[in-house]
């Protein structure tokens, strides 16, 4: 029997609507959904009125760049997880292209504890596939798997594991601990100096092209490798119709490949590049309308398994310049749910159950993370987001909660609004505002202590 917990960690959410349409109350206590039903009450609990709001399991991002250690001018674990919470995320997988690179147990453990201390979301580090992302030798994948960070996803994202032999070895090696290699598919020799999608528009604008075949050929090679060695494979940020075709073929053959798509690749096309506005510069680049359509259909039919943001913050001066000199990347945590809402739900391609699947349950499963992605039921971990589906808002810098303001959606009207986010039973966002750092850090410490006590 546990000690009675203090009042501020018992929350009663009333009148929320679940993805299947049922109205329900949720009682969050000791980091779990203690009860689910109607007419619930709890003495001394903080009451959150969720009338008219949709309750989804906390979102899980399989692809985020938190930039710490090394690039703290762009983002830190603290600011990045604040951005995550603002977007309804309760867990983020942090990519390894930090400085130093996350290719040892030491760095991944450091990232994980920074996340625990900040308390806004679970930070699950991703380990590099190769030492220093140099593409030459395998990193200590086993050590990272056995570390406190329990790394299961490995990626050189930012760079492609282009050497076929190295990719084969990596795929084989991680089978020992149920790991998965997440490939950034970009044949480097076909994309030297590439600035935008290769096609009619790149020819006109005088920008070096990034041909679709550079992505598709790597995916084709890797699915066949995965088949040959009997290993799981995950493809990051799929961006072309051709890639979708290859993945569909691979799945039909029974190859254990999973794939992700970013929100921006579900909504934006290369036409935006004609302005030479570097907010639209991203890798892989924005593509044609036909690609956007194919990606939407693939997400709807399950060929693409998850949406992952590829949140990539940059300092202002890295985007406030001529195109060639600008950095690649867009922030995406705060806008992800709204963009999926606009591109997939409003168009009838996904319902809210599907959204929970592609933004919570499936990423958690692929990443082998526990305590996340579970359905909203009694006994499940208290990871919940409350979302107002009826709101529309002009998306401005006020909606951004991290350090980066390089969002392509500034000035656009987006549907929906995250009203509240709960992580380990305590609120990280309430009334649409991210809660203060000290308050959340204190709640995180209490939650950690009570989890210790329960053990």
């Amino acid at each position: 029997m546990s000690e009675p917990t203090s009042n501020h960690d018992v929350t009663l959410i009333t009148g929320a609507t679940l993805a299947d349409g049922t109205r329900t109350d949720l009682l969050l206590r000791d980091g779990r959904i203690a009860e689910r039903g109607t007419g619930l009450s709890a003495v001394g609990a903080t009451v959150v009125d969720a009338d008219g709001l949709l309750a989804l399991p906390g979102l899980v991002d399989l692809h985020t760049h938190l930039r710490e250690p090394g690039f703290e001018q762009s983002e830190t674990v603290l600011t990045g997880t604040r951005a995550a919470a603002a977007g309804g995320f309760t867990a983020v997988f942090a990519m390894a292209n930090t400085s130093p690179v996350a290719d040892t147990a030491g760095v991944v453990e450091q990232e994980q504890s920074l996340g625990e201390r900040a308390g806004y979301a679970t930070v699950q580090p991703i380990g590099a596939v190769t030492v220093g992302l140099a593409g030459e030798r395998l990193a200590e994948l086993g050590a990272m798997a056995s570390s406190r960070a329990e790394v299961r996803v490995f990626s050189d994202d930012g760079l492609c594991v282009s050497d076929p032999l190295l990719m084969r070895r990596a795929l084989e090696y991680v089978k020992a601990f149920d790991g998965v290699i997440a490939q950034h598919a970009q044949e480097p020799r076909l994309t030297v100096g590439a600035q935008m999608n290769e096609g009619a528009l790149s020819g006109e604008l005088g920008l070096t092209g990034w041909p679709a075949v550079a992505e598709e050929s790597i995916i084709a090679r890797d699915v066949l490798l995965a088949e040959h060695v009997g290993s799981r494979l995950h493809i990051c940020h799929v961006s072309t119709a051709g890639s979708v075709d290859v993945i569909r073929w691979a799945k039909a053959r029974g190859i254990p490949v999973t794939a992700e798509v970013t929100p921006h690749h579900l909504l934006l096309t290369e036409e935006l590049v004609a302005s030479y506005d570097a907010r639209y510069k991203v890798n892989p680049p924005l593509r044609r309308a036909e690609d956007v359509q194919a990606l939407r259909e693939a997400l709807a039919d399950g060929t693409i398994d998850v949406v992952a943001t590829d949140h990539a913050p940059h300092p202002v001066e890295a985007k406030d310049c001529e195109w060639d000199a600008a950095a690649n990347g867009m922030v995406g945590l705060e806008s992800a749910l709204s963009v999926v809402h606009a591109s997939m739900v409003a168009t009838g391609l996904l319902d809210w159950n599907d959204v929970a699947r592609v933004l919570s349950a499936t990423p958690a499963r692929i990443g082998r993370i526990t305590g996340q992605g579970a359905s909203i039921e009694a006994g499940a971990p208290a990871e919940v987001v409350l979302y107002d589906t009826a709101a529309t808002r002009p998306f401005g810098t006020a909606a951004l909660a991290g350090k980066g303001v390089n969002s392509p959606y500034l000035g656009l009207e987006l549907p929906g609004r995250v009203v509240a986010t709960f992580h380990r039973g305590y609120a990280t966002v309430l009334d649409g505002a991210v809660l203060p750092t000290e308050q959340v850090a204190a709640a995180a410490r209490r939650a950690a202590r009570s989890a210790e006590v329960e053990r």
Partner: protein, 319 residues
């Protein structure tokens, strides 16, 4: 005209206007006093991030003949080579009250970024951005063609029905792009000739015919044959095996010159690789317009500066 960034956005009337004003400017070059007071007191900054003596001198001459003050800023040894951003450079020029900025930059789109940024209020004139556009080059090329075709009666005329064939590295050429859009606007028929590796992958939207064979193209009897400079470094990126093969298949040698229609003209934006894309015989023949292009460049740039700076800038819309 608020800015001159590209030929793609010029209407037919706007293009003819620039060429006609260039006629007036050209005439002043034959007077005793080759100077006009029109832009007195205006400051024109030549912002050249890429080395280019010829274009830079041409713009300098153009601005000075209109009595403007010229400040030249070239990248080597400047604050830019020490890492100063385009934004900071622009704001420095704005603080010095530049009225016009003539910019040459290696990044496609840099002039547009400068014009849209709000860092500086000056008129922006694109003197070549990456592989994107070089509008005054295309304008001086069109002026040259018009003058050779119509002589004293060029004013008000376009290039309707003129067959222009452009040969060379189309993929990397801002001169080719600006010419294609402008020539189409002026009613000319454009053919592009290059090895397939030096053509953009999708030429669907381009108002031009594409050929791989130069001899075929010459047999079509073009009125104008424009040769573009080839950079031999491209053979190291496997665009073509070596200079010899390129020259044999796509070079204008004396034998091909002889097969050209006697009335056709040969053009080259310079600088030329004699013996590579163009033979000395071709370059020096009376059909070659290379030197006129240089002279016409000053007149056309005078016209561009005049149209950019002389009128009420608040009222003009961007070109």
């Amino acid at each position: 005209m608020r800015h001159l960034l590209s030929t793609k956005t010029l209407t037919r009337d706007e293009a003819i206007e620039i060429l006609d004003v260039a006629e007036d400017m050209a005439e002043t070059q034959f007077r005793e006093v080759r100077k006009l007071p029109t832009l007195r007191g205006k400051t024109v900054v030549n912002l050249f991030f890429e080395d280019s003596t010829r274009t830079r001198i041409s713009f300098e001459a153009a601005a000075k003949r209109l009595s403007a003050d010229v400040i030249t800023f070239s990248a080597k040894g400047s604050s830019v080579s020490k890492g100063e951003s385009l934004k900071d450079t622009a704001q420095t020029l704005a603080a010095m009250h530049a009225d016009a900025v003539v910019i040459r930059h290696s990044a496609s789109g840099a002039p547009q970024t400068l014009a849209d940024s709000g860092w500086i209020d000056a008129g922006i004139l694109n003197a070549g951005d990456g592989t994107h556009e070089h509008p005054t080059q295309a304008l001086l090329d069109a002026f040259t063609m018009r003058k050779r075709l119509h002589g004293e009666r060029s004013r008000g005329r376009a290039l309707d029905g003129v067959a222009v064939t452009i040969v060379g590295d189309i993929l990397h050429s801002r001169v080719a792009r600006s010419n294609v859009w402008l020539l189409d606007t002026l009613g000319a028929e454009v053919t592009l000739v290059a090895p397939p590796t030096l053509l953009p992958v999708d030429l669907g939207p381009w108002p031009a015919t594409v050929r791989y064979d130069l001899d075929d193209a010459i047999a079509q009897r073009p009125d104008v044959l424009m040769m573009l400079r080839i950079q031999s470094e491209r053979m190291h990126a496997a665009f073509f095996p070596n200079s010899r093969e390129y020259s044999r298949r796509w070079g204008l040698d004396d034998e091909r010159l002889a097969r050209l229609d006697p009335a056709s003209i040969v053009m080259h934006p310079g600088p030329m690789n004699r013996g590579l894309e163009i033979s000395s015989g071709a370059a020096d023949s009376p059909r070659s317009t290379v030197l006129e292009q240089v002279a016409n460049g000053v007149s056309v740039r005078m016209a561009a500066l005049y149209l950019l700076l002389s009128g009420d800038r608040e009222e003009s819309t961007r070109v």
